[in-house]
Subunit: 410 residues, 2 copies
């Protein structure tokens, strides 16, 4: 072409870089490196024989339909199974409140496309899930970050922010939160904060987008009702819930679901239609089988035991390697797959990432989880994929690497 | 919420209705209705036992990886298989020219998102594929329709249009065409027109988006090189090619691929990352198996014979039921799944659709295939899904329904 392709891109895409983590993971090729960087569930938890069995059943039952187009909203059986599954969690929805998506990532993209014009404000936790930043960024919004504390989103700061934006008539289009065992921090939003967040959503008339990939993975403490459930106990319809089977069942199906008011689901279904048309029936049917024909309680119990033990191992290793005088702190999650390590402010984890690779250990530099006012002395550490032995060894390597720094930090 | 949800939608989505056909198909529930409305391949052509066998092989070989995340761009094996498959068709691409998508619909959406700002112009054939309109419409472009003739896009009108837009410094961002057995018309763009289209693309510096779902389904005449192949014989890089396995293998996998200049593919991969992250590995692996381990030539020959016979049956029925004095014309496709019937201008097919349902026959009213200056006296007729007996009966019912009209048209 005469003019370069770069002159042809839409305004929204000219500076769009996607999700930063993908490029980073490509750097970790050496099998000697212990990676705490990924976000993968362990294949040891995959219901492999169950998937084989249900595939055989599905194919002998309805192979023709599996090979044909599926409905746009999603398979009726799966929507019914999702409704029953959510009822276990105190959520009561009808089919018109539910749509099936290509995992949670499509749910996030649908929320961004439905609500955000360039310049529209959206509230995010600081730090927050990088995939959500990547999805919303495609609409070029203004990101308003609100600090996360040990008990979740800082509600006082959110209130101050909303008051200010209300005065300026520029309220955010929605508030995006991951209340349970958040990626990247592992932090859980307490019950009082959840109620206070819904108070603010009602008072300022701003909807909440609740992303819930990890709710079943609780290793300590008692369940806290989801924002969606709490909102239903009040006036309702303030929350859109985004879910995925990636951490529930397995990532390979690429199936998730989004719940919300019927008119929002109807609008999102139109966007799904224009964007991907439908979700493959086989993949949906396997998720239906997971919810309706596999031993859910036994499976969740095994996951909690297996991942919980890994988390304890990691926390012990951190305590052992990083006594208080080293100036390193970390979160104490009650579930999920990640925790968040804060190094002294003098350590830039973008640089430290490469130093750590030389010590054959990898993590994700914290900057990937900020949409604005990036902080550079944090790291995200995954504990779901490495073995317990690897977790201990990885933290020793991190400690050695920090000790070896010329500046002698930490 | 205090304010209605409708006040919260983005500019792009406020009036967005999705793909018109979906709502229409929902009206056709009576099993006594012979539907010529869908766009489904026949399950009789599905490689069912092959899919079962390859699934077993895949699961015994790599079940763990099937259940895990896949790479964003697409599985290497599938990309290699696509490259070899395209080489059969005179196209030479490298891995950096290829990405895997959720079928062609995602390829269309990626093209729209990458290139179109609100108000940007895009050239479409008149009529054109409704799914492409649905994808591009999400960016609220200006649609510039150019008439289709029996030999494809009217190149003279396109030249006039481009000259005028060039003068006004508002050239389209791209030209979207379905050159082979177009949906909805069945029309194929002749070789001279393809060359002339590439001449215009070069001269006016406007890229072409070539959508090729049906190329292997040719029942008459000789293959014509794709625009992508012809462009590669010249200076190259003027064409982005959008493909799907939906008509090649089966729709149920929801897998397709897009080819183009490396920087375009890299940009589209970022958007895919933010929008759906990755395509399920199982579904990709089945498409790889289709391309590399199944009897492609035998399968394509069977499809050509099976669908070709249906097309001939339909053409014969039209000739028999609609002699010249009835003022009805139709296209004579050389392949694909559809033809286009034009009724007298006094017949509005939106109304006639409901009349036809009473005669237990359905089609798609032509208006669904116009993005601007809608015409209302056409219909799209599918011949891939109904049996030959049903096709003959359906055209008899259409003829009876037309004869029964109070105005006595046709």
């Amino acid at each position: 072409m005469k003019s370069p392709w770069s002159t042809r891109y839409s305004m929204n895409m000219q500076d769009y870089t996607g999700y930063a983590i993908g490029k980073l993971l490509a750097l970790i090729e050496d099998p000697e490196i212990i990676s705490l960087a990924g976000g993968l569930p362990s294949p040891r938890m995959f219901l492999q024989s169950e998937l084989v069995e249900e595939t055989q059943r599905c194919f002998s039952d309805r192979l023709e339909r599996v090979m044909q187009y599926s409905t746009i909203r999603g398979e009726k059986d799966l929507i019914e199974a999702v409704i029953a599954f959510l009822r276990r969690d105190g959520i009561r929805v009808a089919p018109e409140n539910v749509m099936i998506t290509t995992s949670a990532q499509q749910g996030l993209d649908l929320a961004g496309r439905l609500f955000l014009d360039p310049g529209d404000a959206v509230v995010l936790e600081r730090p927050t899930f990088g995939g959500a930043i990547a999805a919303f960024q495609m609409q070029r919004p203004e990101f308003l970050g609100v600090e996360l504390t040990d008990d979740g989103l800082d509600i006082d700061r959110l209130e101050t922010l909303l008051k200010r934006r209300d005065g300026a008539q520029s309220l955010p289009k929605f508030i995006y939160v991951v209340p349970d065992f958040q990626n990247p921090s592992g932090v859980t939003m307490g019950l009082d904060r959840r109620r206070a967040l819904l108070d603010l959503a009602e008072r300022f008339d701003v909807p909440v987008v609740e992303d819930s990939p990890y709710r079943t993975l609780r290793y300590r403490g008692a369940d806290i009702p989801s924002l969606f459930a709490l909102d239903q106990q009040r006036s309702g319809e303030h929350v859109i819930g985004i879910y995925t089977f990636s951490k529930l069942f397995c990532p390979g199906m690429r199936v998730g679901f989004t719940i919300g008011p019927p008119e929002v689901i109807e609008r999102m279904t139109r966007i799904k239609e224009g964007g991907t048309l439908c979700t493959p029936k086989y993949n949906q049917d396997m998720c239906t089988a997971f919810l309706t024909r596999m031993d859910l309680d036994g499976y969740f119990a095994r996951c909690r035991e297996y991942y919980g033990a890994k988390m304890e191992t990691l926390l012990e290793a951190l305590t052992e390697q990083f006594p208080p005088h080293r100036g390193i702190s970390w979160t104490r999650p009650e579930g999920g797959m990640f925790l968040w390590v804060s190094l002294p402010r003098t350590v830039d984890t973008r640089q430290f990432f490469h130093e750590a690779l030389a010590f054959r250990v990898a993590f994700v530099p914290g900057e990937a989880f900020y949409a604005e006012r990036h902080e550079h002395h944090h790291m995200r550490v995954n504990f779901s994929f490495p073995s317990r032995k690897q977790l201990g060894e990885a933290i020793r390597r991190l400690s050695d690497c920090l000790s070896a720094r010329p500046s002698g930090e930490a």
